[in-house]
């Protein structure tokens, strides 16, 4: 095999990274890129299915989605957007230095990319903990159980690593509008202020047809006909949180896989594998990393920011 290849190629220069089925490096690189892009197109459709679910349900129940969105902390979401953008920059620079064959810069930048990827996952963990403590995990019984009698007892929620018990307890005091309702069975919960969005929309007469049916009591219910039914509204907010957890969870899974790829890339870069002539694995891993960043670029406004103008605008 080796001798056969040698006789075939003895007359011209053969780049070390060139596989025998390709004419030259240019063709090989393009084939690698095409393969990765076909995979990414599949990923677009994969996340696209979830974005379609989002589109369908949000077009049905925009006010429930706005209420759910306002339970998310746009600060953490925005911070994570910036963290991912920085990691995309370090990834792009990794490819740049791989093409230059600069091993030390590759290693430094891959470590930085992994660091920012980990920060992203850490922030996600903080957010998920907060959802657990505030009863917005959409499965009944999976939230923190808060006894009904005497709301001000010892702090029992998860304590974050940098938080002292005292500061965590102070956080759970009912200051601002962050009051934690009793939740003895760990059910999915919304707050009274969420229903104000429905009243507001009703006053402005821009409820959708689905909302007119989906938020209000009817003859079958115990409430008088046409009143806002908190339980029915809560179930529509629950749809938002299902979508939130599935989409951000799947995105976080992609980040975890990305970190695994980066670890392998770090090893290869350490061994001085990549040069101006062979850098396809770096380029391909970069495409994957940037794709995950792009998904978040859309998730951030669609999940975290969609109801904020109801809180800040309109003078109420």
């Amino acid at each position: 095999m080796a001798t056969h290849a040698d006789t075939l190629h003895e007359h011209h220069y053969h780049p070390p990274g060139l596989q025998h089925q390709f004419e030259d490096m240019k063709q090989q690189e393009e084939s690698v890129s095409i393969g990765m892009w076909v995979f990414l197109v599949q990923e677009i459709m994969f996340f696209g299915g979830l974005f379609t679910v989002y589109l369908v349900f949000r077009s049905r129940f925009p006010m429930a989605f706005a209420a759910g969105s306002n339970h998310l902390d746009a600060f953490w979401g925005g911070l994570n957007t910036l963290v991912l953008i920085v990691s995309s920059l370090t990834m792009a620079l990794t490819v740049y230095y791989a093409q230059k064959g600069n091993r030390n810069m590759q290693v430094i930048l891959i470590i930085l990319t992994m660091f920012f990827g980990s920060v992203f996952l850490g922030v996600k963990a903080i957010e998920y903990t907060d959802k657990y403590n505030h009863g917005t995990i959409p499965v009944d019984g999976w939230n923190k159980r808060i006894p009904a009698a005497g709301g001000q007892q010892e702090h029992t929620s998860l304590t974050l690593p940098f938080e002292t018990k005292v500061s965590a307890a102070a956080d759970s005091e009912p200051h601002e509008s962050e009051a934690v309702h009793p939740n003895p069975r760990g059910e999915f919960q919304i707050e009274d202020k969420d229903l104000k969005l429905v009243e507001q929309a009703q006053a402005g007469k821009y409820l959708t047809e689905s909302e007119k049916i989906g938020y209000f009591s009817n003859r079958q219910g115990s409430l008088p006909n046409g009143q806002i039914d908190a339980a029915k509204f809560r179930d529509k907010v629950r749809i938002f949180f299902w979508i939130y957890f599935v989409m951000t969870g799947l995105h976080a899974l992609h980040m975890v896989i990305g970190l695994g790829v980066m670890l392998w890339l770090l090893w290869k870069a350490w061994l001085r594998t990549f040069s101006a002539e062979y850098f396809a694995p770096v380029e391909t891993a970069g495409l994957y990393w940037h794709f995950v960043d792009i998904v978040w670029i859309f998730l951030f406004p669609l999940l975290y920011l969609l109801g904020r103008h109801f809180l800040h605008g309109g003078g109420h």
Partner: protein, 117 residues
Amino acid sequence: MAHQADEHNTHSQTQEHEEHIGIPGYLGVFAILVVGTILTYFAATIDLDFIFPGANTLVALLIAFTKMTFVVLFFMHVRWQSRLIWLTVLAGFFWLAIMFAFTMQDYLTRGSGVFSG
């Protein structure tokens, strides 16, 4: 567009590896992405419903599409790739648009009930 791509093909035959946009270019794209993120955040706090209901979402998506375009063209190097890769990328978004359009033409034209238009 086509002319540009032709120019690129002849250019890349003479030069094995392009510099792409270099470090200042990457930092420039990074700056645009950061500005886009900050802009998204503050645009979301202003009530734009006086233009038409849902104007906030449109603005947010326009900024997100702009950010995505910069990432795809420069960080993912599609700007310098062959037309075959351009086609692959665009096909991805085309099929996505088909999925959205065909799903919504169903949901938006239903009769009565919770899933009515």
